[in-house]
Amino acid sequence: MPAMARYLTAVLQNRPIAEDFYELQFNWPSQAPAPKPGQFLTIRTSQSSVPLLRRPFAFSRYDHEDGSARIIYKVRGAATAQLAGKRPFDAVDVLAPLGKPFPLPDSETRPILVAGGIGIGPILFLARALHAHSPALRLIVGARTAAGLPSQLSGEYGEVIACTDDGSFGHSGTVIDALRSYLSTTTLSTNSGESVLYLCGPEPMLAGGHRLALECGITAYVAVEQTMGCAVGACMGCAVRVLGPERYARACTEGPVFDSRLIDWRE
């Protein structure tokens, strides 16, 4: 178990990066273990009882040099609305780092990273971590419309395949459509066993990625999202359906990253 703790830290920057999407950058306490791609934190956004529970957010970036970490979030309720109101120097109450990170590929394996909607945060973090070591890395990013895609995507992460549901930018269609066509072209020229998928996004997208991985005989790691209570493995609230006798696993401790073959994908 990675050591986690509660830290009271401070906001450095909180800015919109796409329609409805914000990036919060905050001081990372020097005594805290470095967060890894796939790991998350929880934030208590209010000192009152509304909203009550801490909310989980995946890390989207960590910079050792300036001692800061970031999350990307979407305003969709009272807690995230409060978060969007945070200004530089405001306090942030975090519990971190939590959960299991993405297993990293060996040098022979080509990572293909796929993000849909709010799933972009942990995928960008992973892309940044892998970019130096995996020149063959491919990043596929999707949103409903062009306005939902963060700017400054290209360049930093090599070739980015962008998709929008309405065709207003990049490929028209879902990230899974784009992944399918990308895999079909690359598997002709290379051994498909050398690729590994990393996905984060809405559940239907993760399920689609899982099915594609099975068809191609490659491994897929998915980062799941679930409502959480304690986020440390105590309450059994954030259960995810898995195959096998236990039937459920905890997103907070066994996850949030799972090998897609372990998950029970039935509706």
Binding site: M1, A3, M4, A5, R6, R44, S49, V50, P51, L52, L53, R54, L95, Q226, T227, M228, G229, C230, A231, V232, G233, A234, C235, M236, G237, C238, A239, V240, R241, E246, R247, Y248, T253
Partner: protein, 301 residues
């Protein structure tokens, strides 16, 4: 001041407990919370067989509270002994096993099997889980069944028997008296209240099983009233639980007549709550010249 609490023939070194279901089997919080501050650690419910738990989602936030429908998901008696007890042997707190089941025999099995374990201080009998189909709440709402089950368990163990009461009854004092008549050493009140939320867009209940158990500050007044009434209806200690998020909430329970308290949902929210509650108790005691926890109840005018 003297922070100790007497329950049956045993003693807790301080009145602060962590409520069953919110603290796992202790090890989950080892890195986050100093267990020396915790007088009593109430384990996740233990049933004879492992239980996978209820359908998902299991948790949803409500105004100043949360609903849960975990369904007593737990590792079962054998894995409790092999995987969880070794850590619990090392904790300074009194380890109180929350005992649950779908029928009376399940409760006997758990207590009989664990009776000789020195690491276990006592039992909290869960007669009030709203999220299981049989047993649980059904057992806990009938005074005669509560009395008989408590009496049967009483014969199996020398250790303190605490009966956890449900607020989902017309008169909680009737159930508390039944537990006392059966030989319980204490009662804890309250367990969660039955509640529900509906998603109007999907036209479905948010929890797949429709209802769940409500906890958090929303239930504080209900717990306080229950402790106030029950502590005046029985002679055994009453352990107050329900909605404590701030130190003042804990003081209110002690003034209402609680001999000890449990922190539940707040464990998820504020890892500093335990220290802050203990400091508030000592500070309040000093201000009001209270020498023991038992004296708090006499302050209420």
């Amino acid at each position: 001041m003297d922070l100790t609490v007497q329950i049956g023939r045993s003693e807790l070194y301080n009145p602060l407990g962590v409520a069953s279901g919110t603290f796992g089997y202790g090890s989950e919080y080892e890195k986050l919370i100093d267990l020396n501050r915790i007088g009593a650690l109430y384990t996740k419910a233990v049933t004879p067989e492992p239980r996978p738990g209820n359908e998902i989602p299991r948790i949803v936030e409500t105004p100043s509270g949360m609903l849960n429908s975990i369904g007593l998901a737990n590792v079962g008696l054998q894995r409790f002994i092999s995987d969880k007890l070794p850590f619990l042997k090392s904790v300074p707190s009194a380890v109180i096993v929350n005992v649950a089941g779908s029928e009376e025999r399940d409760y006997f099995t758990v207590v009989e099997t664990l009776a000789a374990e020195d690491a276990i201080w006592g039992w909290e009998i869960n007669l009030s889980c709203p999220n299981v189909k049989c047993g649980g709440l059904a057992l806990g709402t009938d005074p005669e069944q509560v009395r008989m089950l408590t009496a049967s368990l009483r014969r199996l163990t020398e250790k303190p028997v605490i009966v956890k009461l449900t607020p989902n009854v017309t008169d909680i004092t009737t159930i508390a008296r039944a537990a006392e008549d059966g030989g319980a050493d204490a009662v804890s009140c309250i367990n969660t209240l039955v509640g529900m939320l509906i998603d109007t867009d999907r036209q479905r209940t948010v929890l797949p099983g429709a209802t769940g158990g409500l906890s958090g500050p929303a239930v504080l007044p209900v717990g306080l009233a229950a402790v106030y009434r029950v502590s005046r209806a029985v002679r055994i200690p009453v352990i107050g639980v329900g909605g404590i998020l701030e130190p003042d909430h804990a003081l209110q329970y002690l003034l209402a007549g609680a001999a000890a308290i449990q922190i539940g949902t707040a464990n998820f929210i504020d890892p500093s709550i335990h220290q802050r509650v203990l400091e508030a108790i000592e500070q309040y005691a000093a201000q009001h010249e209270v020498r023991s926890i038992a004296e708090f109840g006499r302050l209420l005018r």
